[in-house]
Symmetry: D3
Subunit: 161 residues, 6 copies
């Protein structure tokens, strides 16, 4: 599909298309994306308390990320509707850098990859952390959203890290 340096979401005349995947083989495909949310040290502490005493920012962000993955074809104009068979969103706290790492993994057996679903899961989870902490922290940044791994499809396994 990606024959050389062409943007595949355009046809020869430069018109946007939802790429025709009708003839692509149905294979098991997975994608894992990551991103980071940078917060103030005090915010980091509030988030870390989530698990035991106070409301749990990360549990809510996880759910938002999972639901966000399902909305990908509604959000990204040229994405195909897909039937995800698995979505996982997880977090690693990196208190030294006052960062929350967001990890999203999607899976299905289908004709097109699930990178955008994994990236959307990460983005929506990160935005939700932002929303829940913004009253105490106006300088939050969402950063380093990227694909880290992808399996299945004609191009096979890709690993960024």
């Amino acid at each position: 599909m990606s024959s050389g340096n062409e943007l595949t979401h355009f046809d020869q005349e430069g018109k946007a298309v939802m790429v025709d995947v009708s003839d692509k083989a149905e294979t098991t495909r997975t994608a894992t994306a990551k991103g980071r949310v940078l917060v103030q040290p005090e915010t980091m502490q509030l988030i870390q308390q989530g698990g035991f005493k106070k409301g749990d920012v990360l549990a809510i962000a996880r759910l938002a990320g999972i639901m966000g993955a399902k909305k990908t074809p509604d959000l990204i104009p040229l994405c195909h509707p897909l039937m995800l068979t698995s979505v996982k969103v997880d977090f690693t706290l990196d208190p030294e850098n006052n960062a929350i790492e967001v990890i999203g993994t999607c899976k299905l057996a289908g004709q097109t990859g699930v990178e955008m679903e994994a990236l959307t899961a990460v983005s929506i989870a990160a935005l939700t952390i932002y929303d829940m902490c913004k009253a105490v922290d106006k300088g939050i940044q969402i950063t380093d959203i990227r694909l880290v791994k992808k399996t299945g499809g004609k191009s096979g396994t890709y690993e960024a890290e």
Copy 2:
């Protein structure tokens, strides 16, 4: 509302709530968010061609960002439904750094701010750029998503830059 270091999206017992804004004054509120999409030099060139010869990545990302802003209450669990009166999404190309800067601005007269709408517009526009370029560039990163300006509401104007 943000009394000290409390996360306002939780009540005293730590339960998630959609914050009650019924008694907040209706004021004109704006928010501007930014983010950056980092691509390969070749991708940068393909995007720059958008305006004249080839399909226009940025025009599509702009539209996705505007539509994404409208979906914010669907995506971010504790966001209020809002009636945005203006949404703008724009881009600045920074070819030296192979970066596309995404700028999103939202506006309304209402009881709660529009930061999340601006940040969502930027995120969805950035994800759309990613989607449209991913066939030729597997290492794209979305980064530095942040609020840069906010006006209106009790807390008044905030400017990050």
Copy 3:
């Protein structure tokens, strides 16, 4: 807003924007749109039976049209989210011409008109009639979708017929 022959959904540089209506006055606005669905004589008879014996095509199309009006900002990229205070969809059967006329009326007190909501109501109601009859009639046409009346806003009342 419509200063001369400019398309208002673009800014000076030709970039799509959701027009800023923040400073427009809030007035009561209504819009009525119409359209026609052209069917075979046999289909017309089946639809006419709807009220008494068989399933009611028009009742379902009416509901789809009302629900469709509410989805307008999701469907039409640069439409503002609106809080419609009234939506009506009705039908006039014109058996001589084997036509079902669809009439949609929307209303609200707001800063922008509801033409698109009325037109969307008509379009979705017409598509639903199509869907429900297509098994017996492959040549259905949806035609003459247009605004027939509009009140409120700076430009005042407009009447097409």
Copy 4:
């Protein structure tokens, strides 16, 4: 399924059903629909400028049509959720008649046809053209929305033109 002159979206007692397609064969199915948007000569000129200097009405309408096709099961009450593998929306300008022809084509391998998806794509694209031009042209009409071709499924190929 369409045994004689029955509306298949109702059961024997006239109750609306989403037709059971569980036992239908999965075949490759395509559908192409067309429609026309009739505008003033001045509007036609503004649209024709889209490709080079001013904002591009048709590019936005194309995107709205593609996204609209994906929303078909949300809009048309008794349509099945489908996984479209291809959506294309295109336009032919007919300046002599001041008409924009909208052409939508959908495709999938599935148990039910994609006519409604193609017709919805055309309708939403046409409504978007309307929305973007309505500030300069109050008399726009959307007309002649119809199925022109359909392949796959038990009933095989159908061609209207």
Copy 5:
């Protein structure tokens, strides 16, 4: 999957996941759910009139239930997106008990069951009856929403009644 007394929507560490069904066999699955709407005797009469003279509450509730089933993955956070091949919603009037029984049945060939889709269809249909009657009856109750039958999948047929 349901190994003993574990909640399958959480992983070992208690984090919410959309259960990975990638390796489950695709079988035909059906589910039937029921619920009851309890109304005042006068409301019961108004509903019973629906079929002939007055607007038809049940026809509208049926449609809302069918459309609601399609929205299940949007509503229930950890539900998989599914391609339902059949949705039926029906009603039995029980005037002696002033109850409307709602029955919803969903079907597909897939890797996961459709209980939630059937239960959602019943719930949304019941809520719609409530909405349409609430102006004349403030004490309506929705009750006894439950799964009555389920076929397909590893666990086979389940019948509650």
Copy 6:
């Protein structure tokens, strides 16, 4: 509006309408609804563990209920789009009866009441509890969904209990 024993969602001819509320006064309106989820004793124990060691069923159901309230106009055909200013979903465990009570409260300043929003919040939260527990408990029932309190609007305060 509710003049005697009329269903207000139909006009004089029995056609469904979204009731015209354009001329109703904007007042502060609240509504509280309740419902019960009946489970097995073992399920009750698993849910009670939620707060400390295992994944938290109720936190997820709370979020689903809040998000569900926002979707009410999408789900209930004749509901108006509303801008809720507050949504709360809470739970009371009643281990003696193996019941989880769900309580939903919505609020806004508007022209129409928020009963359906509160009832939808309760229904979706209850369905989510069902979904999360169904692997270990096939006989769950959702019951007693009802309005318990309503304030604001022309009809004033209503209290059921």
